[in-house]
Symmetry: C2
Subunit: 225 residues, 2 copies
Amino acid sequence: MNTDIDQLDQIVNHKPKLEKGEQLYRAGEKFTSVYAIRSGLVKVVSIQGSGDEIIHGFYLPGDVVGFDGIAQAQYAMTAIAVSHTSLCEIPYSELSHLAEKVPKLNTHLYEIMSRKINDSYYQAQLLAIKSAEERLAGFLWHMMERFRVRGYIYTEFDLPILHREVANYLGLTPETVSRLLTKMHKSGVLTWKKKHISIHDIPALEILAGFNKEGSCSQACAKGL
Amino acid sequence: MNTDIDQLDQIVNHKPKLEKGEQLYRAGEKFTSVYAIRSGLVKVVSIQGSGDEIIHGFYLPGDVVGFDGIAQAQYAMTAIAVSHTSLCEIPYSELSHLAEKVPKLNTHLYEIMSRKINDSYYQAQLLAIKSAEERLAGFLWHMMERFRVRGYIYTEFDLPILHREVANYLGLTPETVSRLLTKMHKSGVLTWKKKHISIHDIPALEILAGFNKEGSCSQACAKGL
DNA sequence: CGTGAGGTTGACTTCGGTCAACGTTTGTGG
DNA sequence: CCACAAACGTTGACCGAAGTCAACCTCACG
């Protein structure tokens, strides 16, 4: 077991930190590696001809980005550091070579990718859910949950992303996000000031996210991610 | 090469056909197999406590469903046959066992899963795109493209799904879908009558889907799926 | 300081959802 | 094979949630 980890360690390159706004990889570039995030925050986007971007996901420490590149041997998306970020580069050729000798690694990779598939199902669900309030509440609840399962403090955390970016991710406008945050703040559910989030009333947040009316399924589903 | 295929053939169970409406697997069930679709159409949904479903994807012959189950050793979604469907069951334990001996199989599986990840990125993009018209046009264009890359006739094809289901998938209402289809029909872009689609004006469809204003990226990206 | 990016708030508009009535197709049983 | 029912599809009138536009505020940073 430990030797497996050791072998993995040998192929990992510890990349220097990325500054805010720097690109990790660009859509269309040759696919070479996946990256494990050690600290910071990365957003994965696709960039339209008009220049604006569509945000497909935010990735926290412990997440792995770059799997979008496997299918076509080139990255399908662009990954950008949202804050100062340090990461590990894992060259794919060496990874798959190693995986041939360590079946457990394959199993693990399948799990990661399967989880990503379920993740995007969850996002699709967020977007298909009607109201803006449910989307935003659902998004914030999901972020909270991600901190929780990682064993971090989850009622208070930093989220160094702009309202504009959340709006983009949820298919809303910054104005709507702002209005909803004001509303949630006034009703004592949570506060988001200066890139810091404090959750005050988790049950209320879950109600806003629409968990109650859908029964336990949605919440349980989301929790699994 | 051929022997690899032979080995794969040995672990595949050729399931009898599924009737319309029958479930292939249910969310929460123990994960055992993935399924390759031979003919017909399968939808993958999550079912809410309220009883209604959220449709996450439609799968055509040649697609493989069931990867949602890997992450947690149980299916995260429910798969339902939309029309009479025949498929191959591929037991996952035997698949991963075989993959240990045939590295190429792993590579292939990674590609399939990576493609699925990109697929759901594309759906998220559809949902995040503002207008109902762009969503519907984008959806229809994408279906057409899927027939095209499979080498089928792609300006005429059967799509045995209800308006209600497309609406659900796109986060719209059946009424809106109906109105838009009427509009597209009148303007000579395409016709969808009796579960049969005829595309008359592909460039017009692409404009409706918003490909022009986003430059080549979105279209190229979607094509890769 | 001043400047510019981001956030907030308000007035107005619009797209698409809702509700309801009606038309059409499908499938079933007599 | 027809008749009926139920599900699906279409169309219209209306309404509300969220987008747009604009003005103003706040804060970080040079």
